[in-house]
């Protein structure tokens, strides 16, 4: 954990900002809500990565989770959009200005229920952004209805018993060809933070499905989205440590114990082997791990799948590096002569 520690010591980071500069407005979410702890890890990650807030945009749909962008990165522009439709808004924003880094925060209802279609197509286009699902298996803001990730057969106070099988958003992301699929747990802040850092350094859609308990409507011990269940059943695939570009990877593990994945900006995520070997670059292994976790009801967390070779949407569209939003009036309006030429073709 070299990085984090180091940066934490110094008050101001490489861009001269204190952590406070990455905070947002006071949260209006419930005390203890998992979403709040994820917000703080976003703050930590951005601070420790020394990102300039103006390079970041925050995006969300509608829900308690989707409110949270107001509670972090107060110095960044943000857009709290529509329920389930944030992916399209994010796509347009990032195509129009590819120099921006985007952090999208959504909920399980926002993504898996109403947002299923846009989510799949966002991933399929490989729009470069961090897409976080704060997954509590319930509709928080509307007071406790089932979402599409609620447990099969679980019972909730208002909603009754859920007859349907949950949607696994990591699996969805995987088969939609995401190059960065991770699962984590709000109760594991370090892992959340390191994964977010890596995701922020990845040039493609990085999907983080983070179990984020709703203490008000879905935190009973038997719920797979509760704190206690998470603590008891979390089974990390590896211990993850993000190592920035400008640092030698000198985290001292014995050889063989660790593997690393290189991110587009030259930084890396170091994966320390725990009980079993796991190779996140192996797609079928990734599918298997998700299937096993599903069958054995464990919370397998960590970097589930990684592939840095997929073209981003902007590259697929053969776009210039410069933000379209910065084109000058002259660049935007072709010349008078060009118009005459074009019109010739219609004579």
């Amino acid at each position: 954990m070299a990085t984090a520690v180091k940066t934490r010591k110094t008050k101001a980071n490489k861009v001269g900002l204190a952590k406070a500069n990455y905070k947002g407005r006071p949260s209006t979410l419930c005390a203890g809500c998992g979403h709040n702890s994820i917000s703080s890890q976003i703050v930590n990650a951005a601070y420790e990565l020394s990102l300039s807030p103006h390079q970041i945009i925050k995006l969300s749909g509608i829900g308690c989770s989707s409110k949270s962008p107001a509670y972090f990165l107060g110095r960044s522009h943000g857009f709290n959009s529509l329920h389930g439709r944030m992916p399209s808004l994010a796509t347009g924003a990032l195509v129009a200005n590819r120099s921006l880094k985007a952090i999208g925060v959504s909920g399980d209802g926002d993504t898996a229920s109403i947002g299923m279609g846009q989510f799949v197509h966002l991933v399929r286009r490989n729009v470069p952004m961090v897409y976080i699902i704060e997954n509590n298996g319930v509709y928080g803001l509307t007071k406790g209805q089932f979402s599409a990730t609620s447990d099969h057969e679980q019972t909730l106070k208002y909603a009754g018993t859920n007859p349907f099988m949950p949607i696994d958003l990591c699996m969805e992301a995987l088969i939609a060809n995401s190059g960065f699929v991770a699962r984590s747990f709000a109760g594991d802040p370090k892992q959340v933070r390191e994964l977010i850092k890596a995701a922020l350094s990845f040039e493609g859609t990085a999907v983080l499905d983070i179990i984020s308990p709703c203490v008000t409507f879905n935190d009973r011990d038997e719920s797979t989205k509760s704190y206690s269940w998470g603590r008891e059943h979390e089974d990390p695939l590896h211990d993850v440590t993000y190592v920035p570009r400008y640092e030698e990877i000198e985290v001292d593990y014995e050889a063989g114990e660790t593997t690393e994945v290189r991110l587009h900006d030259g930084s890396a995520l170091v994966l320390k082997k725990l009980d079993e070997e796991y190779d996140p670059t192996d797609r079928s292994a990734a599918i298997q791990i998700l299937e096993q976790a599903r069958a054995n009801q464990v919370l397998a967390t960590g970097l589930i799948y990684f592939n840095a070779d997929l073209a981003s949407l902007q590259d697929s569209e053969q776009m210039i590096e410069r933000p379209l939003s910065e084109l000058t009036v002259d660049e935007l309006r072709p010349s008078q002569e060009s118009l005459q030429e074009v019109l010739e073709g219609f004579k």
Partner: protein
């Protein structure tokens, strides 16, 4: 061709010719060759394609109108029929005007002959055999058969045909030769075997000098490009798809930056995504748009409301087709006016531009962005299938005569000077507040966009006064559009008792009707070019005892919006609508007005 002694006085450059085929048979190439040839001979033309909502085998009618007087509207009468489709021959044959010419493929079962029209059988099959083209091209070549015969009998210059084909095939000689082979063969056959007996002929004139022949969707896309569109998202839908096609064709020519695209045109998964993307792009500062038709508009409702309240500029180009619902995807209408004006739940209210010609499709194509960015709100442009997908003659488009207006956007430098910033504070008192764009590095720049209630700093607020103040400002802002939008266009002395208000693609028919009416009852006309209405509109209504509102929808939607605009004169306004999928004709307008106005 030997001139018949017996033939009646000639009618030159003034007829409607209908080519009846089955779609998917490649007849479009032939029809374009004919119309372009006439155009190049200096004869004013227009071309309307009446096609089914399917891909192959159903009846299609392509109407070419030649009019020395320059009339381009649809007209009820058909003087020349080219019958290539057995399934509609009887009907088409019955619809031909007395004295008309009936060219028909001689293998079609011929309906009982009329003695008031002239028949010209066409041995298409034999001619094809003679040319013997590759199998996959048989249909195409067959269709060139009527091009040759009709050209010969009407006097269309084969060189003009050749030139038209060259344009069509982007200068590739091979296909041109193949087709010309058939065409000349057919023309020769006609010269040797047919005797000219009908009065209709064409003669070169110079009335298309310097003009262009273009579709409204192409014109609008070019307009958008010269308006600086840098982001466009779309989902395929008839009749709007060709708008995006044109963007995809011309942007690469006009906005490349050493090999890379200085633009993006994204095909989305649906219209919710299309408008969502456009809003995202508009938020970060791109000139952003989406193009669609009715069903897409319905799907965009929620996101449009968000753009309205967050105040994001974007352009939504609606090529109207017949609704409700899927309706008639290949038929024209003006049925989205009311819905678009109030699109979005709550109190959403939108600005609408109404192009009446391909030239205005181009002009509004660029103007729409200036208005959208000035007002920071969605601007709708309502075109329709007739205007968007049919071929119209026009003077070449004027290069934008105004500098681009990017609206109120504050840079980091400006923020530094001012020293304070609130996204929704009405500092200028005009209801329009200042934007900052994501990426602006000044610490004052950031604001959090949200569809929820907010104070002037864009912070969440449920306070009654914040909400009221903001809505009051928004209504004022959107209403102020009346000073920004293109003013209406009036014709007539202004002294007539009767006025006619209309908009959009009915322009051509009204122009023609005006000419016809001028003989009879005097009438002043006003063509709306936007909603909300400029002051002239109220004035025009004040100045006329009776004002007809002409439109192609069932409910008289613009008539309603006008009634709301002038409650004092509400009763002067009379709704005049026809909405059956066909463009209006001058005759229908003339008669309806005459009837109602009591001659």
């Amino acid at each position: 061709m030997t001139e018949s002694p017996t033939h009646t006085k000639q009618v030159v450059n003034d007829f409607s010719m209908v080519v009846a085929t089955a779609n998917g048979s490649g007849s479009l190439t032939s029809n374009l060759a004919l119309i372009r040839a006439l155009f190049r001979m200096g004869i004013p033309v227009s071309g309307k394609n009446l096609f089914p909502s399917n891909i192959q085998g159903l009846p299609t009618w392509y109407t070419i109108r030649a009019s020395s007087d320059g009339h381009t509207a649809r007209r009820d009468s058909v003087e020349i029929l080219v019958a290539m489709n057995a399934s509609t021959f009887a009907e088409d044959h019955a619809g031909l005007s007395a004295g008309g010419a009936c060219f028909y493929a001689d293998n079609l079962p011929k309906p009982r002959a009329r003695d008031d029209i002239i028949y010209y059988p066409m041995p298409i099959r034999d001619l094809v055999k003679e040319v013997n083209p590759p199998r996959n091209l048989k249909d195409y070549v067959a269709n060139m058969g009527y091009v040759g015969i009709v050209s010969e009998m009407l006097g269309i210059d084969l060189e003009a045909i050749r030139g038209a084909l060259l344009t069509h095939f982007h200068g590739r000689e091979k296909p041109v030769e193949l087709n010309m082979g058939m065409i000349t063969l057919a023309a020769e056959w006609a010269r040797d075997n047919l005797e000219k007996q009908d009065p209709y002929r064409v003669q070169a004139e110079n009335k298309t000098e310097g003009k262009i022949l273009i579709q409204g969707n192409t014109a609008g896309a070019l307009g958008a490009i010269y308006g600086g569109v840098s982001f466009a998202s779309w989902y395929p839908i008839t009749p709007a798809s060709s708008f995006a096609d044109a963007l995809r064709e011309y942007l690469p020519q006009l906005r490349k930056d050493n090999g890379k695209n200085a633009f993006a045109v994204i095909q989305t998964e649906d219209e919710l995504a299309a408008v969502g993307m456009a809003i995202g792009a508009g938020w970060v500062g791109a000139r952003s748009m989406t193009s669609t038709s009715g069903p897409g508009i319905s799907l965009m409702a929620e996101y449009v409301g968000l753009a309205f309240i967050v105040e994001i500029p974007l352009v939504i180009w609606d090529v109207q087709r017949m609704g409700p619902s899927t309706g008639l995807p290949t038929r024209t209408s003006q049925g989205d006016v009311m819905f678009v004006r109030y699109l979005g739940h709550g109190d959403t209210k939108n600005v609408i531009l109404l192009p009446g010609s391909v030239a205005e499709c181009f002009e509004f194509g660029w103007r729409a962005f200036d208005i959208a960015e000035r007002l920071q709100t969605p601007v709708f442009v309502l075109s329709d299938l007739d205007l968007g997908m049919n071929l119209w003659m026009s003077d070449p488009f004027d290069y934008p005569d105004e500098p681009m207006d990017r609206g109120k956007v504050l840079t980091a430098e400006q923020l530094e000077e001012i020293g304070e910033y609130a996204r929704y504070r009405d500092v200028d008192g005009d209801g329009i507040t200042y934007r900052t764009l994501p990426g602006n590095e000044h610490p004052l720049a950031p604001w959090f966009a949200r569809g929820t209630g907010h104070d002037d700093q864009a912070f969440y607020s449920e306070r009654p006064d914040d909400w009221e103040r903001n809505m009051e400002r928004l209504m004022r802002k959107v209403d102020s559009a009346r000073e920004l939008v293109p003013a209406p266009i009036q014709h007539g002395s202004g002294k007539a008792r009767v006025g006619l208000i209309y908009y959009g693609s009915t322009e051509s028919a009204v122009q023609e009707a005006r000419a016809r009416l001028s003989e009879g009852l005097e009438i002043d006309t006003l063509r709306l070019r936007a909603v909300p209405f400029s002051a002239e509109v109220k004035q025009f209504i004040d100045d006329h005892e009776v004002v007809y509102v002409l439109e192609m929808n069932t409910d008289g939607q613009m008539h309603k919006l006008l009634q709301l605009e002038v409650p004092e004169q509400a009763t002067r306004l009379r709704s005049l609508t026809q909405n059956n999928g066909l463009p209006l004709t001058a005759r229908w307008i003339e008669q309806s007005v005459a009837d109602q106005a009591g001659g």
